[in-house]
Amino acid sequence: MTARNDTLLWMYDRMAMSRYYEERIRDIYLEGKTPLFNMANGPLPGEMHLSNGQEPCAVGVCAHLGPEDFVSAGHRPHHVAIAKGVDLPAMTAEILGKSTGLSAGQAGHMHLFDPAVNFTCSGIIAQGMGPAVGAALAFKMRGEPHVAVAYVGEAAVNQGAWHEAMNLAAVWKLPFVCIIEDNAWGVSVPKSASTAVPRNDVRAAGYGIPGVFIPNNDTLAVHAAAGEAIARARRGEGPTLIEIETYRLEGHFMGDVEAYRPEGEKEALFAKDELPRFRAMLIDTGVADEALVASIEGAGRQRVDDAITHSRNSPDPVLAGALATVFAESEDL
């Protein structure tokens, strides 16, 4: 499946916006955290997992999805949320803990829920798998043409939940796609130390489904493979597993000094960064000229800046509101 020009531009738009988003979040995160780094301080406390470098995994897949299609992400969800079309101001306000957030600041950056585009999250490794498989089941039972996609990291594949959900999706032939973002590291543990096989696509054989490996963080290859997998799922032919070799350009979380990385690795990753590569490709192949690309970038930045301003200006939430949503109101039975 070759991407059309508007798709290529859309993918670049979301990749660039996502990258800028993470840069702004990083800056806000660092506010108030110096000189002595303390995660509890500043306008954006807590853990923060940035997705810089992994944008191809998000846009190459989400380019094929509509708002009804279901996506579950994990602890590193921003790029996927942006590609899936999660409401940007509400997402940002959530990340900043404001009352205008997706859940009024109750949930934070690892728990972004946006029912308008069927997006969910869990901070527990691999626990987005079950819900995505369940959404796929619902679609199949209702005869709807939608698909469900779960994003996990390469290290999450060794979690029992992953295996159970893969088997369930396969034995029930559900419209489900599992995207494995292989950024080579689970925090400080390299894939070779955590995973008995070099590539997780071989594990697809254990479920009798297609397995695909995409090297080199290649947006177009992701787009093509995801297109096939999603079309297959919509045709009722069951799940696919796609592992994407991608690059984590930041620490595992903000504050990670990455002493575990071999020397030079980080620089090599930046040299292979897909964002400028993809930008150059757009121009080289005549899909866009410099001005169009710049205007896309500008518009994306504006959206991000607006979302952040909106969030900064939003009021704090109050405890009574949070307490009121622990249980959903039971309607009259």
Partner: protein, 352 residues
């Protein structure tokens, strides 16, 4: 308003339709499935096998394998799947065969199901029912006889119910299915009325064919009394009734409350009773430490301290895994005899 249990006031109907808890739950499920196409059931051996605890007898024939789904032994996956299905509008009923197995799937329950509403600020609900079997008494040993009520109750975001009779079972099941929140529906094996185990006769009561609901979070008075309040649920309600009978012989008038819902807990009904009787004994088949009985004792002590005439008391499972050997298990379980003894003890304490 405190409700009255069917165990205290059986309905006056010409034709009694007495059925077991298992049948009552199955009936509630079938009727709701007919009404609402989004309701479906998932679990191990719930299809051709009818559910190990008879929760789905006959449903496969009526509703087919799409809506009565046998699953692999993958509790994390299928309970997680229920959460996702619920997020997009289905109403799954999922069965965790024995509560003792929660350890392989608890994250899907307390970090996914129970927090979906909260994490989404109420935008995404989780209308699912998790049915599970609890309790011992038939020598099924340390990994198949636990109650673990408190393990669920400790975690916010889910409702927890456990019926003592078929009438309550049907009404609570209908409420649970219609509730927008995850409801943990805990069936005591010794009350279930299934083919391979006996049951307490008193659980088999008249159950109207028509659909009705029992509000989750409302306790029921099972017996009126003036000297002591006995609080129980599921199996221990029946022990309390037996104890109340025995106590009556000794001139002690015991009030018995069936809380029915563990979360939310109708503490007001308990407090009202204790304010009258001045004495409290809670009976729990779950482990003592950090259990529901302790929670009730604590809440009453905090809120009705000056109304208590004797120290509040509880009878719970000792903090040990359920033993296999019958003699050991029977010695460990709460019993009517232990209740009588405890009541006598706290009443005698007042003399000192």
């Amino acid at each position: 308003m405190t409700a009255t249990s069917v165990l205290l006031a059986p309905p006056k109907v010409a034709k009694q339709r007495k059925i077991s808890i298992a049948k009552a739950i199955t009936e509630a499920t079938a009727q709701e499935m007919r009404r609402d196409p989004s309701v479906f059931v998932m679990g191990e051996d719930i299809g051709a096998f009818n559910g190990v605890f008879g929760m789905t007898t006959g449903l496969l024939d009526e509703f087919g394998a799409e809506r009565i789904r046998d699953t692999p032994i993958s509790e994390t996956a299928f309970i997680g799947a229920a959460v996702g299905a619920a997020a997009v509008g289905q109403k799954p009923i999922v069965e965790l065969m024995f509560v003792d197995f929660l350890g392989v799937c608890f994250d899907a329950i307390y970090n996914l199901a129970a927090k979906q509403s909260y994490f989404s600020g109420g935008a995404v609900t989780c209308p699912m029912v998790l049915t599970t079997s609890v309790g011992g008494g038939y020598s099924d040993a340390g990994q198949h006889s636990q109650c673990l009520y408190a393990t669920f109750a400790h975690m916010p975001g889910m409702k927890v119910v456990s019926p003592s009779n078929a009438y309550d079972a049907k009404g609570l099941m209908v409420s649970a299915i219609r509730d927008p929140n995850p409801v943990i529906f805990m069936c005591h094996k010794g009350l279930q009325g299934i083919g391979w185990l006996g049951t307490v006769k008193r659980t088999i009561v008249h159950v109207p064919e028509d659909l009705y609901t029992i509000p989750i979070g409302e306790a029921a008075v099972v017996r009126h009394g003036t000297d002591v309040t006995l609080v129980g649920w599921a199996s221990t309600v029946h022990l309390a009734i037996d104890a109340a009978d025995a106590l009556a012989q000794q001139g002690v008038s015991a009030e018995v409350i069936d809380i029915r819902s563990i979360v939310p807990l109708d503490i007001d009904t308990i407090l009202k009773s204790v304010r009258r009787t001045g004495r409290l004994v809670v009976i729990d088949e779950d482990y003592a430490n950090c259990g529901v009985a302790g929670e009730i004792v604590a809440r009453v002590s905090e809120r009705a301290f000056r109304d208590l005439r004797s120290p509040p008391a509880r009878i719970a499972y000792p903090d040990m895994p359920p033993p296999f050997a019958r003699v050991l298990e029977q010695a460990a379980l709460p019993s009517a005899g232990k209740i009588v003894e405890t009541v006598m003890e706290i009443m005698s304490d007042e003399q000192h």
